[in-house]
Symmetry: C2
Subunit: 513 residues, 2 copies
């Protein structure tokens, strides 16, 4: 008993949490109870025995039609009404025909039921009929019921009319309670969902860029991520929920278009579709964040010191990108237009900075080590040494470079000593100017390959994946830039939405600024 | 009338197409008609007036329980049964309690209805209760109906028992027809869906790699892709359906676990969950294909001649990757284990080849043009010239390289002339061995920057995005390699599935090979 009590307590706590996290659920449950009570009362108070007999229809209608959101309630109610009316009409006609058959009436009735069942079910399975699925069920149910009970009692019309009256009663009570007391709108939910997606992607983007620069690594990638299941990982859940919300959005859209103008959505034919479109454009951006996260998940990782080279620029692109997303999300939330078309200006500038830096330093993104295939461990150490020296230079102002230049000369001289040891066969090609030195090297390696081919391939193998590490940085940055490029598309979708939904002008903000 | 006739014809054609594409739909519609006919017949033949009065319950049950797949039918049937039984029991108890209240019985009944309605609806909204949604509805309906009609007639027990008998009748007919005549299994659908996803991703992968190498470009990216809507694009639809099928898989999984062992799935507790897991791992790979497609969609495109350099290797990785996917898909389809653990051997080898080529030629992936920031149009022309010369060399056998070597010497000498013009200030650093020549250049440019800084920045701007083009090739290849890396995870998931689902050993194949 003790344990049972504990279980009950746990359940109560869970219920309390649920209620607190979304009070609308409590309200909805209360509304449901109220509607049922009202219908029962009406049936109690009605003296006619006939009504009580068909009472089930009223209760059934309330239970079935009472959906969480207004849109769902209306669409189900309409389905029910249409289905019942059509079925009633058809059943009356079919019954008349069966009567004309005389002795064969019974067979005709059975035939009717079979044919109607077949045709209605087949049409119901047609993809475009999905939203009317419930209507077809009601149609079938009503048709069969009227045919069967009418056959026994002979009161086709009375059955149909009574039934319809009670369904109307149930629908009336259900709709009245649901619409008038604290209505819950699917459109509102859709709106919130889109805003939430914006924030989620923004959070993921920032998290990805920061995590990448701080060289966050997963010791073991959660298998839930590997199989695309929901997971607690904050980076992952942000974009996953945005990517995953398609079907939820479609459902909400299906309900929202049924809802009458209300609250902030004071317009007939409110462009709910454009919310879904904006969300789709956001998803297109989120895929890039997903791919960036893939770079973090990957086993192939760029060395931290190389990431640090682009750290400032990438950080800026990341935070500017997230800022744009948050800004757009807030605009959607508050339903205001963009104050100027230049929302992307800063993020584009940041991306161009990053791009320019990449242009100048793209040698960091590739592994020069293998260009000459020969093994030169000392040389590699030098590469790192030079990179850091280079970074040192880059951070200095131009006026100081004259001083640094001397240091460079010293460095390069120290290499000369080492190089004269390394270079043998093709020393004749070494006296080339710096711009083409790179190219000469490229050409020289086929010649070298002859001498070292025998002892290289085995030792080359293990480092192939490893040497992809530098490219991984290139991938991350170019995904980041592609993300920025895709923002334009998102802004376009937003502007179409703000146009069609007649978002208000951002007057106040201009004054504040 | 003519137009109406045309409409009818069109609809008939659409119906015919639907029936031909999935004959199961016709069969299902026929079964539905049959079940309804049977129930109606039973009610007709039964002489007792009492039955006809409650006939609606039997028909309702058939209509509602008759779902497309067996799993859905069973789970709905169980929900209905449990809901009805529980509601019946509770309603009887509540009615007894109400009776004890004497004069207050009416109020007590109303109270009961409200409280039950509230609690049941609230619990129903709890996320984990989603699969039992229908059960709660039935519970509420039955409870209210018994309370209301029982109150009027005073025959609580008779109402409950009659109702339950007719529901059992309806459920019996519905289940009997649905299970015994050409059953449609949700598990089978799930199985097929997973196989279809494999094929779709394989097709997209091949299409992406080939399209990229053939430099396919979208004149205008379809806005449907930009907002992630369904589109006819074959590349896109392949991976989209795999990415998009999560909710469908979850639904099918929810039904499949209800199904008894059948056909090829002769096992209690068949691991349907693992099919979804394999599909999730496949999705994780598909995201890479999606990102690769993003490279094709992007405005930033790598120049065709650079793509051609890696053409053979990339083609090989793409086709080997697609082969692995098709192979795995077929294994899932035929439910055979992997014959050896080396299914990834060839694709890994291909990826390593590609990686090695990238290592050697990574200078193609970056724009060296900006490394020295100074403008040198002639120099750039040389870059292209050398690249093609280089490619020419690479295709020759090693025995010929001695001859080519002379040509190289000539080339490099011709550069010397040009370089002596270009290099001024830092000529002291030029006499370095080829391995470090690259590094010298990197260091020399900050010094140069001083002299040319004034006239460069303006002309640098327009080329920033353009120069990302070479990096785009790097991105594509490293995404391709990451895709290969993710295949391991997919194979692991497949092996877990083949273990748990006791796939058959591939005996025949070994003999054939």
């Amino acid at each position: 008993i003790r344990e049972l009590w504990k279980k009950v307590q746990e359940i109560a706590v869970a219920g309390w949490e649920l209620g607190r996290s979304d009070p609308r659920k409590i309200v909805f449950a209360g509304k449901m109870g109220l509607a049922l009570t009202l219908v029962s009362l009406l049936i109690f108070l009605e003296p006619s025995k006939n009504i009580a007999r068909y009472a089930v229809w009223a209760i059934l209608t309330v239970v079935v039609v009472f959906e969480f959101s207004i849109g769902a309630t209306l669409s189900k109610g309409l389905n029910r009404g249409l289905g019942t009316l059509l079925a009633g009409g058809l059943a009356l006609g079919a019954a008349e025909l069966s009567h004309l058959m005389g002795d064969w009436a019974e067979l005709a009735t059975i035939m009717w039921i079979f044919i109607t069942g077949f045709v209605a079910t087949f049409v119901r399975l047609y993809p475009t009929m999905k939203p009317y699925d419930y209507g077809f069920r009601v149609f079938l149910l009503t048709f069969c019921f009227i045919m069967v009970s009418g056959y026994r009692t002979g009161e086709f019309v009375a059955t149909a009319v009574n039934r319809f009256l009670l369904i109307a009663l149930g629908a009336g009570v259900g709709l009245g309670v649901n619409l008038c007391i604290f209505p819950i709108w699917a459109g509102e939910d859709l709106h919130d969902l889109v805003v939430k997606n914006f924030m989620g992607v923004a959070k993921s983007l920032e998290g990805c860029v920061n995590g990448y620069l701080q060289c966050v690594e997963y010791e073991r990638v959660p298998s839930k991520i590997l199989t695309y299941q929901a997971s607690d990982d904050p980076l992952y859940s942000g974009y996953r929920s945005a990517v995953q919300s398609t079907s939820q959005e479609d459902t909400l859209l299906g309900f929202a278009i049924w809802e009458p103008p209300h609250g902030r959505y004071k317009m007939l034919k409110y462009p709910w579709k454009n919310y879904v479109k904006v969300s789709g454009a956001l998803r297109h951006c989120a895929f890039m964040v997903m791919a960036m996260h893939g770079c973090i998940l990957s086993e192939i990782q760029a060395p931290p010191e190389r990431r640090r080279v682009f750290s400032n620029e990438m950080q800026r692109v990341g935070s500017e990108g997230a800022k744009v997303l948050r800004e757009l999300g807030n605009r959607v939330k508050t339903m205001t237009r963009l104050s100027s078309p230049s929302i992307l200006f800063e993020v584009h500038e940041a991306a161009e900075d990053l791009q320019r830096k990449i242009d100048r330093k793209s040698y960091i993104l590739v592994n020069s080590q293998h260009w000459e295939i020969g093994r030169r461990p000392e040389g590699i150490e030098h590469v790192d040494g030079v990179n850091s020296g280079n970074r040192f230079l880059a951070t200095k102002s131009l006026s100081e470079t004259v001083i640094d230049f001397r240091a460079i000369n010293n460095l390069s001289k120290s290499w000369d000593v080492q190089n004269s040891v390394n270079t043998g066969l093709d020393s004749s090609t070494q006296t080339v100017g710096s711009p083409e030195a790179l190219l000469t090297k490229q050409i020289s390696w086929p010649a070298r390959q002859i001498s070292i081919l025998d002892n290289i391939p085995d030792e080359e193998e293990p480092s192939t994946y490893e040497s992809a590490s530098a490219l991984s940085l290139a991938t991350f940055t170019s995904l980041l830039i592609e993300f920025v490029a895709r923002l334009q598309n998102l802004v376009d979708a937003f502007e179409e939405l703000s146009e069609k939904a007649k978002f208000k002008e951002p007057v106040q903000e201009l004054i504040v600024q």
